[in-house]
């Protein structure tokens, strides 16, 4: 019998790519080796497709179960998981969908998948905790939720998701799918994931903050999409007042009674 490591590597390849050649002989049994291998192959691929379906429910609703299974199995063969924790599997599925020939007509599908991924990651994040503390002024601090993701996309994915969730076919058909910059905030809000569209200045500000920019640099980024007054208004309304953010003001020593 070949070494165990060889058997396992050959079998893993055989299950993913459908070539049973090189496997060691199996004992005679009522169920043929071919049928037995097919059970293992079906189980592996359906488990991966179902794991992806749980992470990408909006994509599943958009394309339907049969098409989703086909795309998921193609992805699983191209990018099989490396770890046992399947809730963390599928990070590159959005990129795969954008290049997958049968979905070329659905130009927004990759962005919808990015939203699904961000929601799934938010639900896996702790309910409390801070990803980033930013000093706005000497005594004013901005804390962003540990679960927050700022998603730059080209299509209004929050509107697409809402229409699908509400089974609003007319609303879905009326969505303007002209590609243009959008930004969406996704975070965990108790037992749910919250999704909030952001104006361009607020999106640029938060994206810059998340990538480590100073507040001044982030404000400068926001000002590329609006006047300084407009950018500040957007940041105050959509960032400082948001549920994913907390503003803390520490009183200076002179003010302490």
């Amino acid at each position: 019998m070949p070494p165990l490591a060889d058997i396992q590597r050959r079998m893993a390849r055989a299950l993913l790519h459908g070539t049973d050649a090189g496997m060691p002989p199996t004992a005679a049994a009522p169920v043929s080796a071919c049928a037995a291998f097919q059970v293992y192959r079906d189980t592996v691929l359906s488990a991966l497709a179902n794991a992806l379906r749980l992470t990408f429910p909006t994509v599943d609703r958009l394309v339907g179960e049969a098409f989703f299974d086909q795309a998921a199995c193609a992805y699983a063969r191209e990018a099989p998981p490396r770890r046992a924790r399947l809730v963390a599997y599928g990070e590159t599925f959005p990129v795969f969908l954008e290049a997958y020939a049968p979905t070329q007509g659905l130009v927004y599908l990759g962005d919808v998948a990015r939203l699904d991924w961000a929601i799934a990651q938010a639900l896996l994040a702790p309910d409390h905790g801070v990803r980033r503390h930013v000093t706005i002024e000497e005594t004013i601090f901005l804390a962003l939720s540990v679960s927050l993701t700022i998603l730059p996309v080209r299509f209004p994915v929050d509107v697409i998701r809402a229409a699908l969730t509400d089974d609003d076919d007319r609303g879905l058909a009326a969505i303007d799918l002209t590609p243009r910059p959008h930004a969406v905030a996704v975070w965990r809000d108790g037992p749910m994931a919250a999704v909030q569209p952001l104006s361009q200045p607020a999106g640029l500000f938060l994206t810059a903050i998340q990538f480590g920019s100073t507040p001044e640099e982030a404000l400068a980024a926001a000002c590329t999409a609006a006047s300084p007054q407009g950018a500040l208004r957007a940041i105050q309304a959509e960032v400082f007042a948001a549920r994913f953010a907390e503003i803390t003001q520490i009183r200076s020593e002179e003010e302490t009674p």
Binding site: M1, P3, L4, A5, I7, Q8, R9, M11, A12, R13, L15, L16, P24, P25, T26, A27, A28, A29, P30, V31, S32, A33, A35, A36, F37, V39, Y40, T43, V44, A47, L48, A51, P80, P81, R82, R83, A84, R85, L86, V87, L123, L124, A125, P126, D127, R188, P191
Partner: protein
């Protein structure tokens, strides 16, 4: 013959020898809201790792119920060795949840850097025994406790296996100090697919594994699919009630080794919680019958 390894600790049994239910996501809300009178629950830890919403649900369940962790991703049969990051995550989760039992399968899932989500078959060779024993020992050492190893469902057997599954499990128990999770449904599925008598396959396992090493029993349904060549394929899909053959073998097991924590598993086409409760009640009636028989009561 391999020498005994060092990682196992004493077999503990904080999960009661009663019927329990495999808890799945669709029933979280019901269990948290109604707090049904179930003796214990079991979950797959891979679905709860981290600090997300479902992990929070499980912590609330744990406050009211004993919990067992039934892992599916440790890949104890991998010749490449264990994924230590994953094992570490399971260990951290186990410390947080404080489960009564921890188990995984006599199978492999990972090879060559890939992880395939299935319980893939091992050749029952001396090399495989050394690999599994080493991996089980490492797992028990990291977890700081004994684990149970489940006999998986089989669709094929390798031609040149030196041992039977029963001999392999018995030897694994001896060298690693692990326990056994006896899945009665898997006995019926494997026997059917491999052309064996289920009763004989079960008898072999009970002959080779010491009764005290059997720490838990699983019961589930399976699908039966006729093939074009006239063969009948049994698929371990956990998607239907426990079959009469499995109930019958379960009675045999309990009569021979006495009551054990017994789990109802249902993973596909998951029904209403009441359906699981009915299956749980059937299992409990068999456990009660055995516990009440004079010979067993006297032995206790």
């Amino acid at each position: 013959m391999l020498p005994p390894l060092s990682g196992a600790t004493r077999l503990e049994d904080p999960i009661p020898a009663r019927a329990g239910i495999g808890l799945r996501f669709p029933h979280h809300d019901h269990v948290l809201a109604k707090r049904p009178d179930v003796a214990w629950f079991e979950v797959h830890p891979e679905n709860y790792l981290g600090e997300g919403v479902v992990a929070g649900d499980l912590e609330m369940v744990r406050r009211d119920y004993p919990l067992s962790l039934h892992a599916t991703g440790l890949s104890l049969g991998s010749a490449d060795g264990l994924d230590l990051e994953h094992l570490s995550a399971i260990a951290a989760f186990s410390r947080r949840i404080q489960p009564g039992l921890v188990s995984d399968h006599l199978s492999w899932s990972a090879a060559g850097g890939l992880h395939l989500p299935d319980l893939l078959p091992l050749p029952f060779s001396e090399e495989a025994l050394a690999v599994v024993a080493r991996n089980v020992d490492q797992t028990q050492t990291v977890l700081g406790r004994q684990i149970l190893i489940e006999n998986p469902s089989a669709y094929l057997a390798f031609a040149d296996s030196a041992l039977t599954e029963a001999e392999f499990l018995g030897e694994l128990v001896r060298v690693s100090g692990c326990g056994v999770l006896l899945d009665v449904n898997n006995i019926v599925v494997s026997a059917g697919n491999l052309g064996e008598s289920p009763a004989l396959r079960l008898g072999q396992l009970l002959d080779h594994v010491p009764p005290g090493a059997i720490g838990e029993i699983h019961l589930a349904g399976h699908a039966v699919r006729p093939l074009a060549d006239g063969a009948v394929l049994r698929i371990d899909d956990h998607g239907s009630p426990v079959s009469p053959r499995v109930w019958s073998l379960f009675e045999t097991v309990i009569a021979r080794i006495g009551p054990r924590p017994t789990l109802i598993e249902w993973d596909t086409a998951i029904p209403a919680f009441d359906v699981l409760r009915a299956e749980e009640a059937s299992a409990q009636s068999i456990l009660d019958w055995r516990a009440e028989t004079p010979a067993y009561a006297a032995a206790r």
